[in-house]
Symmetry: C2
Subunit: 448 residues, 2 copies
């Protein structure tokens, strides 16, 4: 009896997987992942970094093969994958796989959207490929942690590329050796640094993961040879990526445990430590919807980390707003929302938000866990009210509901692609599983 290594085991699993094997809750979460992915890409598609990427890459665009979500341009499918990957991640409003802290949607979905425009598949096939891509990318990510991320590898890019290759390989109908080749070609292209987060350069890593993962599958399809043990070999991916690979976590209970079920969605486009704070502010806003001008003080008690990361009373840009406790509290109360508009340059310049920001007082409390916050309000008439948030929205204990996710999608679409029919697109993604032509759904991502 021959024991197959992880590279080949993953290849066998990918080739053998059938749509009927995918449990209902996993299918549902796959559609939610795509709602979030497309929403983020719509929101990001005119970001400054994406506009520059267009200027750089458009002279090299090939034939118009695939759409860029939210835009009219149609590059070749490799460039489309790059741009959609970059665009879906640029606002930092991603999905997050909790076991690997990886954002799987942005690197994995774009190549599948591009392929779906080139080769007819039905909606279930596209959804199946997304689910398998997330499965492989996240499992490889888990197996490389914690050394991989701690050194500085940006796991969304470095492991997302495996998911992109796996998903594209599934749409191309690769057999098990073909899948192993696709993973091998992904392994040798795995790249991306945590150091580059916080600059536009982050988008190159994520865009490349999407582009090069698709290319890996296309090379595999044509019989381009690859090593047998690209992941586990002596000089393979794991040897380079980590001190202690956990191959058992990579291949354990394949087809039984589903990583898609560990995927969460950011409820607010800002630092994750601010989530319980904003939940509390929005709760108080419901109690006192017109009170913004009558607030004397907002005291926020939270974990020490909350203060370290976000105690920033003076800010000047939307980028800084994403990590400012004072701004987040004020903007959420004044607008009764905490979406893209509340973390823009314009909202930073709003007098009412600035005035309320100055009344926000953060306090560290050693007894409060990091996922928790207490927000206490005092109005000028002496009224006091407090909200104690134990589980922030968007965590596993309080996942985003379908309605909340749909609202996030609408917010992002209105921000980045107001000319698009967002409702038609949203219901098409929600109904993807029953769609005969996945390409039709993908084409709805372009403004008419």
């Amino acid at each position: 009896m021959t024991t197959l290594g992880p590279t080949r085991l993953l290849g066998e699993f990918l080739a053998a997987s059938r749509w009927d094997d995918i449990p209902g809750p996993v299918r549902h979460e796959g559609a939610r992942c795509l709602v979030n992915f497309v929403g983020c890409a719509l929101g990001g598609c005119h970001d400054e970094a994406i506009e520059i990427a267009f200027r750089v890459l458009s002279p090299c665009f090939g034939p118009p093969q695939a759409g860029v979500i939210g835009r009219r341009e149609r590059p070749d499918m490799l460039n489309a994958a790059f741009l959609n990957g970059a665009s879906a991640n640029v606002l930092e409003y991603d999905d997050t796989h909790l076991g690997s802290v990886m954002h799987p949607g942005a690197p994995i979905a774009p190549g599948l959207f591009a392929l779906a425009e080139r080769r007819p598949v039905d909606g279930a096939q596209l959804l199946h490929a997304v689910i398998l891509g997330v499965e492989i990318g996240c499992r490889i990510g888990i197996a490389m942690m914690p050394t991989h991320y701690r050194r500085g590898a940006h796991i969304t890019a470095t492991c997302g590329i495996f998911g992109a290759a796996a998903g594209a390989g599934k749409l191309l109908g690769l057999d098990a050796p073909g899948m192993a080749r696709a993973l091998g070609h992904a392994a040798t292209q795995s790249a991306g640094l945590v150091e580059n987060l916080g600059s536009m350069s982050k988008s190159i890593g994520v865009g490349n993961a999407a582009r090069n993962g698709l290319a890996a599958a296309l090379f595999a399809e044509e019989g381009f040879t690859a090593p047998e043990q690209a992941i586990e070999g002596r000089y393979g991916f794991a040897a380079v990526a980590t001190d202690a690979p956990d191959f058992a976590a990579m291949t354990d209970r394949l087809g039984d445990r589903w990583e898609m079920l560990q995927n969460a969605y950011k409820p607010y486009p800002c630092g994750v430590v601010l989530f319980p704070v904003i939940d509390g502010v929005l709760e108080l806003r419901e109690r006192y919807p017109d009170a913004a001008a009558r607030i004397d003080e907002v005291v926020v008690r939270g974990h020490q980390l909350l203060l370290e990361r976000t105690d920033r009373p003076q800010i000047t840009s939307g980028r800084d707003a994403k990590v400012s406790l004072q701004h987040a509290v004020a903007a959420a109360f004044v607008h009764g929302a905490a979406g893209i508009a509340q973390f823009s340059d314009a909202s930073v310049a709003e007098p009412a938000i600035g005035a309320l920001s100055a009344k926000v007082k953060p306090e560290a409390d050693a007894g409060i866990p990091v996922e928790t916050a207490i927000v206490r309000l005092r109005l000028s008439d002496g009224t006091e009210s407090a909200a104690h948030v134990r589980n922030a929205r968007g965590t596993m204990n309080r996942p985003m509901t379908d309605d909340e996710l749909d609202a996030k999608f609408r917010d992002l679409a209105a921000y980045g692609a107001p000319a698009l029919d967002a409702e038609a697109l949203l219901s098409a993604i929600r109904g993807l599983e029953h769609e005969a032509d996945a390409g039709r759904v993908v084409r709805l991502t372009a403004p008419t």
Copy 2:
């Protein structure tokens, strides 16, 4: 006084460097590097791996912007860079930088050739960019060794990309912060595994280094932002690439010590341990030019490593021939040469070579260093003759002469691109420094 980190120091050096700063011997070696690069690309341009890469990528080709050396196709410049990088490395006949064991030509030169067709530069500018690219790629390589390669990073790809970005940045005229951005965008794209050597997948890593290094410079030119300390930062390239970066080696004596002078060229397209053996065989062949059919025995005495790597009496393919002592000895003696033709499938099938192979007897000798070999011949009339090679051709102690390098170029051109005017191209590269239009030289790499 602010101390600049390595990323910015390299950027300052690149921006400040002037052609007049480059010593004559470095310029001459730069031209030799290009002779070898173009020759290897001509030889490899119709290799099976390259043909498949064309099938995969050509549906995505953009406008005809840049040539693929030795071929008529003209893809966009990014795809051209990928294909030329892959092609120049596919035969394993590269240049080798001795301090880093990196092959700098294949990843670094292709982007510069592509740019030279898009934006007019003179020959000295192109040569200057090549020299600076090799300088940066090799210095970063040295600084990452030995952990980097030992783990499994394929340094030609992982560090070659920095050279590609640096050289392209120079042709684009980037200032120091722009150069640092280009290095930052290269850092986050650095990828390539030793595990993938020996399969076609190797070519993806090298091709990407060429392509993505060029893209890094183009993104930097448009102001795409990057981290300040992409190489030395806490989560930067060095943290991911090695346990113990040697930043002093990276920046020491910039502009004074030149890595280009440590670049060597393979004299034969086979395993490096075979070089002294082939030198000895060719020496004996000169003494007895017609003796092949009258040989009773050839005894080769060498280092234990020679036997471990190359004692392969029975082979069936040109690929295996590259690591077969018996084949190398027989083919070199029968043909009086050891070029591409002598390591082909056809030469393996040649009866005279097969017959002589069977008479080759390898012997390990603990007293013989690895760069040395003794080849002893006995003819059927009892004549005996020996050649003792102390320094193999293509090492630093016996570098390839200009004439030898030109002969290698002609051999490769005749093999891979017989329709090309190889002499015109060779003299244009040799005279590149005095050429007013570098694009003219690059266009000579296409068959007429």
